[in-house]
């Protein structure tokens, strides 16, 4: 009898939650792996009585491929990086919203409203902001780390002990900065120079890997390695010898954004979710979890100390980062050949 009771109450509860979900609706998120705390999703689900489901991806390009292969129309929001917002907009994958739909639109830090990849923020809101540079194990190398030469023409101590992100965009952008070549340059001599430089640099590299970037530095498999700054802060917490560099030639600056997808099945809830993420407290919850800074005004005061004081998140004054640019088809074709040459 007890069992029967239990079974029937469970059944009723399931039906209730199912109909409840029907009434208040669903929200379907397509997100990076390990990039939003579960607590925050639960909080949203509870506050707005919405059933939240989330799938994850591990690169901008993988997300684009999945959406192109027929997933568009099954998700409400996604979280592309800066250049990918522009690509998705050009592909017609984004819906637009009016500022008046988001009561918290005013919370966006003004410098992140008129951004190149989405002028005036018509389809996206800022999520997290970070940089891609490199870290060096100061026990292995004590010299100057203020130049990209550490990666591309490394000192003897670091040769054969360098991990590089397995990401064409970031490697080619940093190499271009090192050679002082504009990104997406169509100049043949410059592209040849880029190709030659990478061939030369590769001889000094130990491995390519993005998800392993932190682990190889912490464990000492690599003495230097390209890494995202928040990931780097976590690495330093585990191995105090690691130092994040701000190279004088520049570094990659990136910004992930929450976008409203075209044909979103639950557009209203998507808008509610974006508005929810623009609350300073909620934006800070993401930062405290992912360890990147936020594009929302006033989020800073909710940061935990580890985020507030991390040297990785506070670039020295005067250092400049640059967004990765989305190249046109002709340049991208050359970039692909360079990348294949690098890994053949």
């Amino acid at each position: 009898m007890k069992k029967f009771l239990l079974a029937s109450t469970t059944a009723i509860a399931l039906t209730l939650s199912a109909t409840g979900a029907m009434a208040a609706g669903n929200l379907s998120i397509y997100h990076w792996f390990e990039y939003i705390p579960q607590d925050l999703l639960d909080k949203f689900a509870k506050e707005y009585d919405v059933k939240v489901t989330m799938d994850t991806f591990d690169s901008n390009e993988a997300m684009l491929a999945a959406l192109k292969a027929g997933k568009l129309g099954s998700y409400d929001v996604s979280v592309p990086g800066d250049y990918m917002v522009e690509i998705m907009a050009k592909e017609g994958m984004l819906d637009t919203f009016e500022r008046s739909e988001l009561s918290n639109f005013g919370n966006i830090d003004p410098q992140w409203i008129d951004v190149g990849f989405d002028r005036g923020r018509k389809s996206s809101i800022p999520y997290q902001i970070g940089t891609t540079g490199f870290m060096v194990n100061r026990k292995a190398y004590t010299g100057d780390i203020g130049s990209l030469a550490v990666l591309f023409d490394p000192p003897a101590e670091l040769k054969g002990k360098i991990n590089v992100l397995d990401s064409q965009g970031e490697v080619l952008a940093l190499a271009s900065m090192y050679l002082n070549i504009p990104q997406c340059s169509t100049d043949r001599d410059q592209l040849k120079k880029l190709n030659d430089q990478l061939q030369k640099s590769k001889a000094a590299w130990a491995s390519f890997g993005s998800d392993i970037a932190k682990d190889v530095l912490v464990s000492g498999d690599a003495s230097a390695g390209m890494i995202y700054n928040g990931f780097g802060a976590k690495a330093r917490a585990e191995n105090a010898d690691l130092e994040y560099a701000y190279p004088k030639e520049g570094y990659v600056f990136w910004m992930d954004n929450v976008v409203l997808l075209k044909d979103a099945p639950n557009r209203d809830n998507a808008i509610k979710f974006m508005n929810f993420l623009l609350e300073p407290e909620n934006a800070a919850a993401v930062s405290n979890y992912a360890q990147y800074i936020s594009g929302v005004k006033g989020a800073g005061k909710y940061f935990i100390d580890a985020v507030k004081n991390a040297p990785e998140l506070n670039p020295p004054a005067g250092q400049k980062g640059a967004f990765i640019q989305a190249c046109g088809q002709d340049v991208q074709k050359v970039y692909d050949t360079i990348w294949t040459n690098l890994k053949k």
Binding site: S59, E61, A62, L64, A65, K68, A69, I87, E91, D166, Q168, G169, R188, L191, K192, N195, K202, W205, A206, S207, F208, G209, I212, S219, G220, D221, Q329, Q332, K333, V334, Y335, D336, T337, I338, W339, T340, N341, K343, K344
Partner: protein
């Protein structure tokens, strides 16, 4: 048809006569749905025009195959020369899979022999031991191997402590590490088929050979090996084919410094270029190679039977 063959070969299968086709239906459905349709789709895609950043345009094109075999310079405007890059990537993968197969055979054959020699319950225990590591996910096993062999990992620290070496042996991100990973991943696929063959071997034949003054070497070469050959060949195929497409071991243990067939194809779908037709073409070329190999093996087998 398949049904007819069963009917002719055995008279007592008459009760299945009418239902043979019906009974075959699930297999045909599964093969059709999970194998033929995806492969045909891939074949079609490989002959389409690529769309920038993923997707295809429905126009016939040989570009994907052209890209595989001809190089036209960094900017695509030089006269075409034969493209060694992709052939090189395939060759490297084949070489690596071949080496892994040979290592698995060298260790797997004596292991299988040893297990087959045990008596009764002992046998099951040994077989059980062989399969234990395979209850754990391949990814986790590969990462554990990485922890084990890194410069300051337990293996090096143990060797240092023993005084066998003075400084750590550098193993991670080398071909050796990749070989170790492949060997460890696929060893049971070699051991189990060979064990099954050895198990059926009639040891009276070895005794007869000895009675007729055959040396140990001659017995092995002329009597035992031909008898267990089907098991060895099956084991080699089971190790070689998955090693060929493997990318976990090369990526995690080899440092992903060079493309393998698997990672090259993945890059076409998930990379910046999003060149789906080229990914499909590379997959078709790989598939054709494996099919050619298996067909050759099947022919050899049927020749021996007849």
């Amino acid at each position: 048809m398949a049904g007819a063959i069963t009917n002719n070969s055995k008279s007592n299968s008459g009760i299945y006569a009418g239902s043979a086709h019906v009974l075959m239906l699930p297999s045909w459905l599964i093969i059709g749905f999970f194998l033929l349709i995806p492969v045909l789709l891939m074949l079609v895609y490989s002959f389409l025009t690529k769309e920038f950043r993923g997707g295809v345009i429905w126009e016939f094109s040989l570009d994907a195959y052209d890209q595989f075999f001809f190089y036209r310079g960094l900017f695509g405007d030089e006269p075409p020369v034969f493209e060694w890059t992709y052939v090189g990537i395939f060759w490297r993968s084949i070489w690596q899979a071949g080496a892994a197969t040979i290592f698995c055979l060298i260790i797997g054959f004596p292991t299988a022999w040893f297990i087959a020699m045990r008596r009764g319950a002992n046998k099951s225990v040994w077989l059980f031991l062989i399969t234990i590591p395979y209850w754990v996910n391949l990814l986790i096993r590969t990462i554990s191997m990485k922890f084990l062999i890194r410069d300051n990992g337990p293996l090096n620290e143990w060797l240092l402590w023993m005084g066998a070496i003075n400084e750590p042996i550098h193993m991670i991100n080398t071909n050796f590490a990749v070989q170790l990973g492949l060997f460890y991943s696929y060893l049971p696929f070699m051991v189990l088929p060979i064990y099954a063959s050895v198990e059926r071997y009639n040891f009276a034949l070895s005794e007869a050979a000895a009675d007729l003054y055959a040396s140990h070497w001659e017995t092995l070469r002329l009597i035992i090996l031909p008898a267990v050959k089907p098991g060895i060949i099956a084991g080699c195929i089971l190790v070689f084919v998955p090693s060929l497409g493997a990318f976990l071991a090369p990526d995690l243990l080899g440092g992903a410094k060079t493309f393998m067939i698997g990672s090259l194809i993945e890059e076409q779908f998930k990379g910046n270029a999003g060149n789906w037709p080229f990914g499909a073409a590379a997959s078709m070329i790989l598939l054709s190679m494996v099919l050619a190999m298996l067909t050759y093996y099947a022919r050899q087998q049927s020749k021996e039977v007849s």
